[in-house]
């Protein structure tokens, strides 16, 4: 499971834009990852400008 570091997140939505599983939602300032949908492809980890996401 991708780990989110909320203290590092800049709520920009770039991770949402690359998640083909539609597992990520950005609700105002908080991103949420649906663990049922996430397949651990780590695409979101690559695109994050702030290193707020950590893959397995």
């Amino acid at each position: 499971m991708v780990k989110i570091n909320y203290k590092k997140c800049g709520y920009c939505g770039a991770c949402v834009g690359v998640c083909e599983q539609l597992a990520i939602n950005l609700i105002e300032h908080i991103i949420e990852i649906d663990t049922e949908k996430c397949n651990n492809c780590n695409m979101c980890v690559i695109v994050c400008p702030l290193n707020a996401l950590e893959g397995e």
Binding site: G13, A14, G17, E28, H29, V47
Partner: protein, 392 residues
């Protein structure tokens, strides 16, 4: 609840960025019953942009002092070793705006044209309901279902709405420029009306560094496409050690911005039954510069016009809505695909080759069309020709 959520619409636009605001403006102005949905509680916030736009006068929008922070006469491009090339033509001219005020201004303009607007309301799904779409939204923890004939997906880089409708809009991670930016006071500018661009594989692989003068401040940021190091780390490095470090010594941040710019070129298909996709979600953003405000506005305008026309004709099937894609492609497809080609050439070049390119181009790009460009390469740096020969 907001009474706007308890109604049926001709057109629902998701996302109140430049694309969505222009789409709902055009749709409402042409008589369609329109709702614009924005998930932030404040339109324009958070800002994910360097805020430079070319002329907006062609949209009938006056460059008002309430959102225009600076007039731009052109750009100075720096090669990795510091060779300067100046551009002052066409799209290099324009304004640096305060995006949060600009976007809000565009939303008010849409409202004045008759569109309803809701904020702090997130679209979380789409369901087909006969000839209609049900847009499922969330507002203050409650779910609502809004019935509409047409949905315009203008949700920016996130691109969820088009996907809910079965279109392919998600981007590949290395086709999204990962950006970090400080808006700073006390930047010593070279020229307060010239944008600065810095290129190089060491300082910003797959993108560039920008310093855009914004009146009392400047946007200092960069975009990268890279697996190894994060945009924020590149940015701290540039401010500390980059070519402009002496001019950034006293600079101090007053705002922090991050974002992703989808530089993949347009998505495969931007319409389906009762759905149109505009702006970043559709990939209508220059793959070379990451400039997308103007394109989102223009394509949004076309989408709003086509949607309202479909409502008048009482047929919003994809056969009718295809006119949107035909029209925006006619106007912008070649530009987008050319920029994609140029980007792919530049990203193959080493820092030495970028220096050689700047050398060959000379001091100014003004008046240099593609033919002249290649001619300069042939006469001055024939070793680079391998990159550019396919352009002829």
């Amino acid at each position: 609840m907001m009474r706007e959520l308890n109604d049926i619409y001709d057109v629902v636009v998701v996302g109140a960025g430049p694309g969505g605001c222009m789409a709902s403006y055009a749709s409402a102005k042409n008589g369609a019953k329109t709702l614009l949905i924005e998930k932030s509680q404040e339109i324009g916030e958070p800002v994910r942009c360097a805020e430079a736009i070319p002329s907006i006068e062609e949209f009938g929008i006056e460059p008002k002092p309430e959102f225009v922070r600076n007039i731009i006469k052109g750009g100075i491009l720096f090669s990795p070793s510091g060779k300067k090339v100046i551009v002052t033509q066409d799209k290099a001219q324009g304004y640096v705006v305060e995006r949060k005020i600009f976007d809000k201004y565009l939303a008010i303009r849409a409202a004045k044209a008759g569109s309803k607007v809701v904020v702090k309301t997130t679209a979380i799904g789409l369901e087909k309901d006969g000839d209609y779409w049900n847009v499922i939204v969330e507002f203050l923890g409650e779910e609502y279902c809004i019935k509409t004939k047409i949905v315009i997906a203008a949700d920016g880089v996130e691109s969820n709405i088009a996907e809910y409708a079965g279109l392919k809009a998600k981007k590949k991670p290395l086709e999204v420029c990962s950006c970090a930016e400080y808006e700073m006071a006390n930047v010593r500018l070279l020229d307060k009306n010239m944008m600065e661009f810095y290129f190089g594989n060491e300082i910003s692989p797959g993108g560039y560094v920008w310093i855009f003068p914004k009146g009392d401040t400047a946007n200092v940021g960069l975009g990268v496409r890279d697996r190894k190091k994060k945009a924020i780390d590149y940015l701290e490095d540039f401010i500390e050690n980059g070519m402009a470090k002496d001019r950034l010594k006293e600079a101090t941040p007053i705002e922090f911005k991050v974002g992703g710019a989808p530089v993949s070129g347009p998505i495969e298909k931007t319409y389906t039954d009762g759905v149109l996709v505009v702006g970043d979600a559709a990939g209508q953003i220059s793959p070379l510069t990451g400039g997308g405000i103007y394109l989102a506005m223009d394509c949004g305008l076309i989408a709003g016009e086509v949607a309202s026309k479909a409502i008048k004709m009482n047929d919003w099937s994809e056969k009718i809505l295809k006119e949107y894609e035909d029209r925006w492609k006619e106007k912008h497809y070649e530009y987008l695909m050319n920029h994609l080609k140029y980007r792919k050439i530049l990203e193959k070049m080493s820092d030495d080759e970028l220096d050689a390119l700047a050398e060959a181009l000379g001091e100014s790009l003004d008046g240099v069309d593609l033919k002249k460009f290649v001619k300069r390469i042939i006469t001055k740096k024939p070793s680079l020709l391998k990159y550019f020969k396919d352009l002829l």
